[in-house]
Symmetry: C2
Subunit: 328 residues, 2 copies
């Protein structure tokens, strides 16, 4: 089943999208928003699935699907926590800084909480006051959970996964060192993220969803040119159930919690990178200095995942960086 | 105007509470939840205020007010960011650890983002798996904002404050060092927070709300004994408008954003402390080691603020720590 949220009000209007992303039909009569559906998933999910099946069979009135009309599947959420599950990426960051990575990073996930009150739409401009902040994208995979009781272990956590999406976890690289030095983690350096136009149930991925990972390449294109397509199922040290269990150690997670994978990254560098910071670190290690700049006003980033038949699964995140002017 | 949320569904049912906290009347016909009211505040606020005035005049059917029936004013929120505005508290933490505090901490606020998907009710048990985690309370003041555009400066930020509340920012002290050492800030060490039964508009505080600060003592009692009552208007290095401006530097803040003050703390130690960590640090500095333990199962924490006539303004946060057993 594939779901999306048309731009309407603060929470969007829930729609069901055909598997091939060409058609959609309304679902607001079943649940007004995706959050409302997640709040009552056991009751709502079978009805949405019936609508999806009817759409697939051409048995309901449907309309052409336009990702540009979509907000992020959850335009705002109560919880957005992002892991760093591709530990080789973290190791690389450290290596470029000349810092050893603690051994514990291979067994204890890194996770930070991001702003979830004002997500960007999948085709919305990334408006920033200054390119001096070092604007970067991070291409990731994320899950949306139902209610997860505190203390749920990794074995059981997988059963709470409701939907999968892609993420552009926008990062302000030049604000990070100062912010992390303060010791409280990211805040200003992680502005609003954007998600793929469509969220899909795990069964849509078939055999590509196994071991709590998505076994497909994640494609990142900058100004139309490939930056990377590492496989999200490879070198993911912590799978999604492990990340969820980490998040739920000391509190309940509410329905609609989004847990991200962190920047997808493969040890095999031939598949490229899913963020400019990694590109620059590899340049630094190779040449002593980075040569690729961070994003400039006008730059375009596309993030997508395709099946073996080159069919776009989640719709493509497609954003441009523009200059932001604060209100007077 | 005073507002609260009766326990009902995931978002509570909005009620209006009398100034003396003895009576309440329904407001769900105006807005079903506090979040719904905040989403459309310009339209909704005058109607809620009319209801509040009618309640004060005895012109509507009202019922006895019981804080035990209340959830936190926002049972779940899209954004909960907590500052550390009482910098002398931060300095003390560092001093106890033998670490110098950077000068920049006096001009650049510390802020972390907390879990906002599953707040505790004001009278709900703090259920934790282990006292080994070092369970502590933090008594704080918080504001709820409307929509705040990215880049809003401190001069304008004050105009976006809608409501004030008290907070118990529950902290797991023994999980903090390991978590901060990883460099990504708090996550597991900051479990679900609880808020005061009642949220009030700034005008309810009269002259005690000025310079973006609340000029009244904040009372913390542990097992019925006073731990501290520092004045929230004293030694607050960053006022709420400054904290909001910090939060809004690189993104829009959504209506219903909660910004906390951090643990209230006065340089004059005679007024006591608003968390056990500070009590223990003062013991460490005086005696070389702390003698007060963190919270044990059964311990009770009360947090309240009174006006000059000893009238409870927000209702009292009143919680017990109990043992949590994870679901099998």
């Amino acid at each position: 089943m594939k779901l999306a949220s048309l731009k309407k009000g603060r929470d969007g209007e829930l729609i069901v999208v055909s598997r091939d992303l060409t058609r959609h039909c309304g679902a607001a009569d079943i649940a007004p928003s995706l959050q409302a559906a997640l709040d009552d998933w056991e009751t709502i999910e079978p009805r949405l699935r019936a609508r999806f099946n009817a759409l697939q069979q051409g048995e309901v009135t449907s309309f052409p699907f336009d990702p540009g009309e979509c907000h992020s599947p959850l335009p705002r959420a109560y919880h957005w926590a992002d892991g760093s599950a591709y530990v080789n990426h973290v190791e690389l960051v450290r290596k470029a800084r000349g810092v050893e990575m603690p051994e514990s990073f291979w067994t204890d996930p890194l996770m930070y909480q991001g702003g979830s009150d004002t997500f960007l739409a999948p085709r919305e401009n990334i408006a920033m006051a200054s390119t001096e902040w070092g604007i970067d994208f991070e291409a990731e995979v994320a899950v949306i959970t139902g209610d997860v009781p505190m203390g749920t272990d990794a074995e059981k956590a997988g059963g709470h996964i409701r939907l999968l999406m892609l993420v552009n976890d926008v990062s302000l690289r030049n604000l990070i060192p100062g912010e992390l030095a303060k010791g409280f983690g990211f805040y200003q350096s992680k502005p609003s993220s954007a998600f793929s136009p469509v969220a899909v149930t795990p069964d849509e991925l078939g055999h590509r969803w196994r071991d709590g990972k998505v076994h497909l390449p994640l494609h990142a294109r900058l100004n139309g040119e490939k930056i990377g397509s590492p496989n999200a199922g490879v070198d993911m040290t912590f799978n999604f159930p492990q990340l969820i269990a980490h998040a739920a150690k000391s509190r309940n997670l509410g329905a609609g919690t989004i847990i991200g994978s962190g920047t997808v990254s493969n040890v095999d560098r031939s598949s490229g990178s899913c963020c400019l910071a990694e590109v620059r670190m590899l340049e630094m290690i190779a040449d002593g200095k980075p040569s690729t700049p961070f994003m400039q006003f006008g730059d375009r980033i596309e993030i997508a995942m395709y099946d073996e038949m080159d069919a776009d699964i989640f719709g493509t995140i497609d954003q441009r960086v523009v200059e932001y002017v604060a209100p007077q």
